[in-house]
Amino acid sequence: MSLEIALPILLPLGFGAASLAAHRHIALQRWLGVAGTGALLAAALWLLRSVGREGIVVMHMGDWHAPFGITLAADLLGASMAVLTGLLGLATAVYSLASTPIGHERYGHWPLLHLLLAGVTGAFLTGDIFNLYVWFEVMLVASFALLTLGGERAQMEGAIKYVALNLLASMLFLSAVGITYGLVGTLNMADIAAKLGEVDRPGLVSTLAAMYMVAFGVKAGAFPLFFWLPASYHTPPVAVSALFAGLLSKVGVYALYRVFTLIFTQDVAYTHEILLWGAGLTMLTGVLGALAQTEIRRILSFQIISSVGFMLMGLALFTPLAIAGGILYTVQDIAVKIALFLTAGIIFRLLGSYRLEALGGLYRYRPWLGILFLIPALSLVGLPPMAGFIGKLTLVRAALEEGAWGITFIALLTGLLTLVSVIRIWQQGFWRGLPNRVADAALLTGERRDATLWLMYLPVAVLAALILAAGVYAQPLFALSESAAGQLLAPQAYIDAVLGEGAP
């Protein structure tokens, strides 16, 4: 009995339902928002501790033993991702207290927030491929609703692309699950892995693998399937953008990591080669997109894509060090992206714009904000002493050990171009003097006070501190990633844990 694996899913579901039931009481919903995300973080930490001590934690829902019911299974990767979900949920919830317009709160911001998190943790912790589809949809519909909350034109335009392309991907995923069931008559991922492992038909299995690759590739925002992401991520309120940026595409990446380490490992030379090409092209197109933008949130949206390339690079190289690097990179990137978006929100609060041309004077008046921006920005570029450097170093080392010169070159080049693209925010927004056209800089210069601003600073400061700490004192995170990679590359342990010792 491992209660801790069910809680990260059931808690946000429960809090979401309660917030919905309390739709008239905004103050109550706010409390539920912070308490619920806090509880989620606590439960996820508990889960991570259990996984760290006892290995893979499993719960057979409804007491139906695998593969007959739905089994939740958490390895280090799943549990760590759940912890991050909790952390970012809490960060966003606190930030939302100060930043979300009251109307958004009245029309469902809080229940949507909880349910989005529930979908994300569900996806991270389920051991069942169809159940994964269900959590994808929970997450997706919650994100649809959050994306459109507010009803502005840009939101609608972005949402149409987001909805259409994600729905297409969902249907591909569903079709792939159907074909999988037709072939092996089971849905439990460990059971699928065990049964496909006995099938000696690499061509057929690779075909199936390609279907999952495309479906999850859309969700992850990989080249050339990412279009929905830059079209929509910059349109909702910044707390929501931050949550999307931090978590949503990572669920797609996680799903790729899961199926391409557990299930589709028969023809690695073929499938992972495709992934490697995808990784390189994703990095380059993402960073070029970022270079073409002049608005903070759009720059960051394209950077999400470029980062996904690095995560895929780890998976594609498929060595213990590479996967560890990919996981490490993913973990820090989640915190980095959300911190950057939240910082962008503070900038917006201070200056009323996201457009680089309308910014300035931030470093003069808000040096601490500058530091809070620089820490995640440098981590994004992969410069020491931030956590992103450790991730990039691990990936580069893994690639060079494999003799993968091409991807190393692309990764390093992308690093440089990333620097050029994010440093522009610094040069223009922070270093440049206050431009004349700023309508109202009273808040920036401190002539006007804002009593809730600290609620926006607090989560950013905590995240920045974590990113810095994880870079300077890198051993715990590296060891965690290494162990998580070890688990992924030894799938038999996962299969045994889910199906029981001596399972087929």
């Binding site: 339902a17 409804g62 139906w64 593969p67 739905i70 317009p101 009251i102 029309y107 349910l115 529930a118 979908g119 389920t126 269900v134 949809e137 929970v138 519909v141 507010g150 009803g151 392309l165 297409l168 991907a169 159907g178 037709g182 072939l183 092996v184 008559g185 439990n188 496909l196 006995e198 038909r201 061509g203 057929l204 075909t207 495309v214 050339p224 399937l225 279009f227 079209a231 073929y270 197109t285 070029l288 997109g289 270079l291 073409a292 003069r364 570029v381 410069l383 020491p384 450790i390 170093l393 691990t394 080392r397 050990e401 190393t408 390093l412 620097l419 050029v420 270093w431 440049r432 003097g433």
Partner: protein, 768 residues
């Protein structure tokens, strides 16, 4: 040793809290730290002179081969002393230079962090740790160069320096990781012992090129030299620090450090000596050509860096000794000259040499200090710079590769440098007095302390070269080669060829200085076209091309047309899945046709309704045909034993039609926007997907590798599930979690619909 490195970072972190307490006097307080560090490192001198090396290892990320390993031998001690020693004066100086500036705290944070990074760099015995400190110096110097950040020039210069050094740094990272992989260890002191194995490894050439690229960008070698003079935008203490002792020396330090591991091959010798030589001449030429005092100094730094690179390339024992002596000499005089330049700027309000003149009366001490250090720069006896230059010439004459050419370059350089030194030391102080924006005055004692001590050392070491010689020159040079070195430094070597060449250079230089104004004009006429196509223009063009490329490529991909997004996604699917299926699948397709008449009838209905839905121009027609498709699907469900599905499908389809009717009639009627050609293309893409799906399904139904798990569900539904409708038992019991997710989806959709309809956000509503 860890404490020594970290102390700077810790103090930097404390500055924001210390500054309010100590205010204007804070600089003097902070200077105590580097001063203490200098003393601390000085305690290692006897041991190092005796050939010992100190080591300290602290684990960091063992799995990555990353540890905080420190190694103190002659070379690192020399640099550590320079960094902390000059650092103390610079910090002291900065407190007065930035007198009354509200950004003082910020400046000290950055400066101290920079100093600590630099110390970490030269002390690291681990390649990765070295790289970390290397990048930290790039970041902190970026912040320092851009200190006057509201000035566009400063921002541009800072960015340029950052991009060039970080870009090179990335190459270096790859090179170092490759080196670590080849050597099997990241510990530098172990790597340098296995030079032979590394040089014979197949990856030697790429890793050498990558490491050199990193070192050359950092040390401003041609063609990356342009960022360094532009970095003059920094406040003077920074320039002094960056250019004299530190950041730019990081590159040549790395060359020296890795020389035993990588050096000595033809590639190494050729690349380093030629690039170094070219940089040396270029730097000297540009120094003479410039009129801003800091620019002259910056280009002469480029010259020095080129010289050092060249000496590292030559790689003989004599060259190594020359390397160490030249490095030390340069740090002393260049640090002093930058501080003098800062004093001049501070005292007169201008940086332009041509605007100054006759200042010796108003600023006699400054004039004296400038003269001492400039003599060392010019390489005149009895200053330490002279010894370095003589050793260099001597070693070049004996160089194994292109010795004549290098010697020639060195003599030309020496000539040019004499003229440049004259421009710095004579021009502002002699000749007719000129009005300057501020009434000239001597800088404060804190600002004079640095140049005074450094100038004194230049003189002392020149007169008694045995002091540095015995203390660390031998030890430092020994670290560069694999064998112990015994350096004997002397002012007088007798009447040798180098001395003759020096004399020639000095005479030529003096002549050039006397015709300086005319020479500059001639230079400008000659090299104007070069400027338009030089490396800096190349950098600008590259950055512009990059933006241009991004702006061109991105709209091609992210163009905003949903239909092409969908088409791209589908074509990707068809390509990946279809090609995999065609090229790799071996097996048959299900072809058994066993169809009942009524099934065929429903199938026909399904197809007709589907096609009609696509072709109709009427909304109502479309709604009805979509409904018919849905009901046909429900009939299939019913025929193939799925009553629950059938009922659900009928109810859902009915509701969908109701919603469609509610919504669609608010919208305009169907319009065909697309051209026939567009439609044909779309139909082709759609047809490809349809074919792929059909093929996939035919393959799938032809294979069943395992019995479905639902046998268990059927068997246990009544005994354990207490229900006879197995589908329902699955939904509410076996797989209740799916259903829980499902109802949350429905609820979420309801929330979304509700908010979209009911809530329109008033423009610019802000939370009160």
């Amino acid at each position: 040793m860890l404490v020594a490195v970290l102390a700077g970072f810790i103090l930097a972190a404390l500055v924001p809290w210390l500054q309010p307490y100590f205010g204007e006097r804070a600089g003097r307080l902070y200077a105590l730290l580097p001063a203490a560090l200098t003393l601390y490192f000085a305690t290692f001198l006897p041991g190092v002179a005796a050939g010992e090396a100190s080591q300290a290892v602290y684990p960091w990320v063992p799995g990555l081969g990353l540890e905080l390993a420190f190694y103190l031998d002659g070379l690192s001690l020399l640099l550590a002393l320079l960094i902390s020693g000059i650092g103390a004066f610079v910090v002291l100086y900065a407190g007065d230079y930035l007198h009354g500036d509200p950004r003082q705290a910020r400046f000290f944070v950055q400066l101290l962090a920079f100093m600590a990074s630099m110390l970490g760099l030269v002390l690291s015995d681990n390649l990765i740790a070295l790289f970390i400190f290397w990048e930290l110096t790039s970041i902190t110097s970026y912040l320092l160069i851009g200190f006057d950040h509201e000035d566009a020039t400063a921002r541009r210069a800072a960015l340029q320096g950052l991009v060039v050094t970080v870009g090179g740094g990335l190459a270096l990272l790859a090179g170092l990781v490759l080196l670590g992989t080849v050597a099997g260890t990241y510990t530098i002191s172990e790597i340098v012992t296995q030079g032979e194995a590394i040089r014979e490894h197949g990856h030697y050439v790429p890793l050498l090129l990558l490491v050199l690229l990193g070192a050359f960008t950092k040390s401003a070698q041609v063609p990356f030299h342009f960022w360094l003079p532009n970095a003059m935008a920094a406040p003077t203490p920074v320039s002094a620090y960056l250019h004299s002792a530190t950041m730019v020396k990081a590159g040549v330090y790395l060359l020296a450090r890795l020389h035993p591991a990588l050096g000595g091959t033809d590639a190494w010798i050729a690349i380093c000596s030629l690039i170094g030589g070219a940089t040396m001449v270029t730097g000297a030429y540009l120094a003479v050509r410039s009129t801003g005092i800091k620019w002259v100094l910056a280009y002469s730094t480029v010259m020095a860096l080129g010289t050092l690179t060249m000496l590292a390339g030559v790689g003989t024992e004599a060259a190594m000794v020359a390397f160490v002596v030249f490095l030390l000499g340069h740090s002393l005089y260049k640090g002093a000259l930058f501080l003098v330049a800062g004093g001049l700027e501070h005292g007169t309000g201008t940086k332009d040499l041509l605007a100054m003149g006759g200042l010796r009366r108003a600023m006699p001490i400054t004039a004296l200090l400038a003269a001492v250090s400039a003599l060392s720069l010019a390489g005149l006896p009895p200053l330490f710079g002279f010894i370095g230059k003589e050793l260099m010439l001597e070693s070049l004459l004996a160089a194994p590769f292109a010795g004549v050419l290098l010697t020639l370059l060195a003599v030309v350089t020496a000539l040019l440098v004499v003229a440049a030194a004259g421009a710095v030391a004579l021009r502002p102080f002699f000749g007719p007095y000129r009005e300057t924006p501020e009434v000239p005055h001597e800088p404060s004692n804190a600002m004079l302390a640095g140049p005074a001590v450094l100038g004194l050392l230049s003189l002392l070491f020149g007169l008694v070269p045995g002091i540095p010689g015995d203390a660390f020159v031998s030890a430092a040079a020994g670290a560069l080669s694999s064998e112990p070195v015994h350096a004997h430094l002397a002012l007088w070597h007798g009447l040798t060829l180098p001395l003759g060449l020096s004399a020639l250079a000095v005479a030529g230089g003096a002549l050039l200085y006397s015709r300086w104004d005319r020479a500059r004009a001639a230079m400008r006429r000659i090299d104007a076209p070069l400027y338009e196509r030089g490396p800096e223009a190349g950098y600008d063009r590259l950055m512009a091309a990059l933006s241009d490329l991004a702006r061109r490529v991105t709209p091609v991909l992210q163009h905003g047309y949903l239909r092409y997004y969908i088409a791209t996604t589908v074509l990707t699917l068809v390509a990946l899945v279809g090609l995999t299926l065609i090229t790799r699948y071996e097996g048959g397709l299900a072809t058994a046709i066993d169809v009942r008449f009524y099934e065929l009838a429903i199938a026909v209905l399904f197809v007709v309704a589907t096609v009609f839905a696509c072709r109709t121009q009427s909304r109502l027609g479309a709604v009805v045909s979509v409904g018919v498709v849905g009901y046909a699907v429900a009939l299939f469900y019913l025929l193939f034993s799925a009553p629950d599905l059938s009922i659900t499908q009928i109810l859902v389809e009915t509701l969908t039609v109701i919603l469609l009717v509610l919504v669609l009639f608010k919208l305009p009627g169907f319009v065909s926007f697309s051209s026939p050609r567009q439609r044909a293309w779309d139909a082709l893409v759609a047809g490809l997907l349809g074919t792929l799906v059909t093929l996939l399904l035919l393959v799938a139904v032809d294979h069943q590798f395992a019995a479905p798990i639902s046998e268990y569900h059927l068997a246990e539904s009544v005994p354990l599930g207490h229900g006879r409708n197995v589908v329902n038992v699955i939904i509410v019991d076996y797989r209740a979690l799916d259903t829980l997710g499902e109802i949350f989806v429905v609820a979420l959709a309801a929330i979304g619909v509700y908010s979209m309809i009911q809530y329109t956000r008033p423009a610019r509503e802000e939370r009160s």
